[in-house]
Amino acid sequence: MKTVKARSFAMVVVGLLAMGSSPFAHHGDAAYEPEPIELKGAVVTEYSWMNPHSLIKVRATDAKGETREWTMEMGSTPSMSLLGFSKFTMKPGEVVDVWLYPTKNGTPVGRMHRIVFSDGTELRDLDPTEPRPATADFQE
């Protein structure tokens, strides 16, 4: 079983690269801006580990000085599990720095890009510039 573990370590790296589908692969890229914005010192107000997409809500002040509550989606729970997220990754009240692709219509919602916790731990969704794997037409 040690062999399994050692190989798994290598496969995680390889696999996450290989599975590096665009965060917009599921939903198309029309709803969100192509470049992420940064919300520093954001306070987590809600974290919902759910399907088809988990949600993070934060209260934050953006670069224009406007303070709003933002809602951002991530992938499904199995997808995010592969990236290190779980039901207990964060809780309301935590202060984080977060990057997200905002919606084009101005509402304070977006797609999470990456999040950095107070201890420096960084978790991220997949980067849209990473290559997509070849997939069957009937799979998503």
Binding site: R7, A10, H26, H27, G28, A30, T71, T135, A136, F138
Partner: protein, 319 residues
């Protein structure tokens, strides 16, 4: 370490470039020959190993079978798919299979397809995919392809049961020699269902062939919004390549919707070392929360009409 890196390198090649070829080569080497009764039975395979360095209750999506990718775990057991399997997109240890054919639609299918707004085209705010907006069950055969990240297979003397991780759906395939129903959707007959009616037989020691009819025709064939009629017949082949690998392919025969039979493509499945799965359920109340607090606010793709969770008439779902 060197071996580990070699495995990783080979994996890159396998996953990015020619995964299907790698597995195909294994199959072409004559797997299945020389199996001994001891290898077939392998009672230790099911024994709990307290030294596995793995939580026996936790699903490790990135674990792959010992020997991967340069090993196959040994010969496949005869006429058996039993066990817990990683599916497509669940794990980097599962290669992508050959893509499906591009089907030729009839005029009726074109009309139905044109009324369907896929998530890919319309975004979550604009789609009318009944799964995307309601977590409605996929139904067969979409449930064997989309989100089928992991599953278990159990066999009984007269049937084989596929236990899908996504939504805890299961489907049974009868191996007792019965004929498929010919009275689906007629008065006094049997009703079409999400999974339809399936019978199977072992074509050889490694290949299970399943025929399915009677699937509800309001279900989408795929996330692409392709339709099928109630008279569609599906042929499904499972090939157990070796102990750790199997591959599935489904063909659609539906003259009402398609001018010729076509394949939906291959999906590979890999053995889960500790045999434990996790939970993956699309919950209707959660999808409502997602739509009302995120997706509908984000809006649909430009030029596509937005859907409303509460005003989409029931009879329009999936039509």
């Amino acid at each position: 370490m060197r071996k580990m890196l070699m495995s990783a390198g080979v994996s890159l090649v396998a996953i990015f470039a020619c995964s299907g070829v790698v597995v195909a080569q294994v199959a072409d080497d004559g797997i299945g020959l020389g199996r001994t009764p001891a290898e077939q039975e392998d009672p230790e395979k099911w024994k709990y190993d307290p030294d596995m360095e793995r939580d026996p209750w936790k699903y490790y999506a990135t674990d792959v079978p010992p020997g991967f990718p340069d090993g196959d775990g040994g010969p496949a057991p005869v006429r058996s798919l039993t066990g817990t399997w990683h599916g497509p997109r669940a794990s980097p240890g599962v290669p992508d299979g050959r893509r499906g054919d591009r089907p030729q639609l009839t005029a009726l299918a074109e009309q139905i397809r044109s009324e369907r707004k896929t998530i890919r085209d319309a975004g979550p705010g604009g789609t009318n995919d009944p799964y995307g907006r309601y977590c409605d069950p996929f139904g067969y055969p979409r449930n064997m392809y989309q989100q089928n990240r992991a599953m278990q297979v159990a066999e009984m003397p007269d049937r084989i049961v596929f236990l899908l991780q996504h939504g805890y759906w299961w489907r049974e395939v009868w191996l007792d020699g019965r004929e498929l129903p010919t009275n689906v959707g007629v008065r006094g007959g049997v009703d079409p269902t999400f999974n339809g009616y399936s019978v199977g037989h072992w074509e050889d020691d490694d290949t299970l062939v399943i025929e399915t009819v009677g699937v509800r025709d309001d279900k989408w064939l795929s996330g692409d919004g392709l339709p099928h009629s109630m008279n569609a017949r599906f042929t499904e082949r499972w090939n157990r390549i070796d102990r750790n690998t199997m591959v599935m392919e489904i063909w659609v025969d539906d003259p009402t919707m398609y001018t010729e039979r076509f394949s939906m493509g291959q999906s590979y499945f890999r053995w889960v070392p500790n045999q434990q799965l996790n939970e993956y359920v699309c919950v209707p109340s959660e999808v409502q929360k997602y739509l009302s607090e995120q997706a509908d606010l984000a809006g649909s793709t430009e030029g596509m009409e937005s859907q409303s969770l509460r005003t989409l008439p029931f009879e329009e779902r999936g039509q």
